[in-house]
Amino acid sequence: MRHDHVITSKHLSRADVETVLDRAAEIAADPSAVADRHAGALLGLLFFEPSTRTKLSFETAMKRLGGDVVDMGSVESSSVTKGETLADTVRVIEGYTDALVLRHPKEGAATMASEFVDVPLLNAGDGAGQHPTQTLLDLYTIRENAGLDDLTIGIMGDLKYGRTVHSLAYALSNFDTRQHFISPESLQLPREVVYDLHQQQGGRTGIREHQRLEAVLGDLDVLYVTRIQRERFPDESEYRKVAGEYQIDRETLEAASDDLTVMHPLPRVDEIAPEVDDTEYAAYFEQAHNGVPVRMALLDLLLSEDGGGSDE
C-alpha cells in the first residue's frame, strides 16, 4: 500500500484492496504468526462519538498484533477536547502514538485531520461521510462467500444516510460487479454518490435503483441489508409502513438463489428476522468477526511501512 492514511474507500484501488484482503486472509489463517509483530507500538483511539463495536474491534486488532492502545475516552469526560480544535487534538495525540484511529461527527474530519499529522490515520467514520475499514471487512466477507468478480449485489435499506453503503459502493466499483440499490424513494442514494459511481465506472454503468426487493432478489449473489432509522420519518406509522417493506425473513428468502449471502453491518433491529440466523444465507456475524483480521492487516501494513522511518 502506498498510502499513509486510510480516509476513504474512494482512494483505495483494486490493488490496495487486494493487498489488504490477502494479508487479512494470511492473518486469519495463522494469527499466532503476528502475535508479537508490533510489540511496543501504540494506537491512539480518538472517538468523538460513541461506537463501542468499532472501537473494540480496533483495540482487539492492535492487541492481537502485540501492540497496545491509548484511548482519549468519551468526549464528555475528556478535558483535552474541550474547546480545542480537532487539528490541535490530533497533533497532540500524534506525539504519543504510532498511528491514530479517528471517528468524528463532522464530514471530512478525517481528511482534515490527516493534513495535520505524520503518523498513519485511519478513518473510523466521519459524520455521514466515509467508513473505509467497515468497507474492507465487507469486501473481505464478500470475497470469502461469493467472490468479488462477476458479482451481483443488492444493497438495501437507508441508502441516503448510510455511510457504510456509500463506502462499499465506491470500493465495489473497482471490481466486475452489478450493483442494485433497493430503498424507499425518500432514502435513495444521494445524487453525489450516483454521480461519483458513474464517473468511477466510466462507460459501464453497473448501477440500478429499485424500490422493491422482489424485482432483483432472484439474481443476487449477495444481499447487503442496512437499517432504516426511525428518525428519518415524520411519524411512527409512516416509519412502520415503509420499514416493513424492507425487512427479510425466511419467507422472503424463498425467492432467493440457494447461494445467496446475506450481510448486515450490525447492529440490526428488525430488518433481518432472527429465524434467518441459522440458515446458510446468514453471514453477518462472520462479517462482524472479520473486522479483527482486516483491521490487523491494515494496521500491520501501515505500521510496517512506517517502521524504521529510514526508508522514505
Binding site: L86, K106, G108, T111, M112, G127, E192
Partner: protein, 159 residues
Amino acid sequence: MSDEGDDRSEHELRVSKIHNGTVIDHINGGQALNVLAILGIDGSQGEEISVGMNVPSDRLARKDIVKVEGRELSQDEVDVLSLIAPDATINIVREYDVVEKHRVERPEVVVGVLSCPNDGCISTGDEPVDSRFEVVDDGVRCSYCGTIVREGIASLIEH
C-alpha cells in the same frame, strides 16, 4: 475586431482609461461585485477601482467591467473568476496600453474563496483550515465533505 468592440464599450462606459493595472472585461452582467469579492478587493487598501455594470455588449447581452488601477492580477488570481464569469477577459495595462490579454481558465481547485454549504462539514467550523473545492465538470466539490455545488456558487463566496 475585438479591439473595436472594446473601444466602443469604453465610450459607452465613460470610465476613464487606466494608467497601469488590470481591466476585467466581459463579466456576466450583475457579477462585478462578486468578482471584486472573490479577488478580495474592497477598496480598503486605497486602490482605485472603476466598476461598470450592465453595459451593452456584443458578446453578452449585458456585461460588467472592472478596472483595478495599480495592480496586475496573475492568471492564478483570475482563474477562480471562471466559476462566476466564464467569459471574462483579462487585460493587463501598462502606460495606458494593453500589454497582455487573456481569458480565464477553469482552475483545478479553489482555496479559501468559497465556503461549504454543508453545515455538517468540518471546513465550516473553527478548524484552522481554508475551504477547498475541486472544480468538476458542472460545478465545484468540497474537498472535505464531498458536497457538490452546481448552482448559486456566487452565494458561497467568503467575505
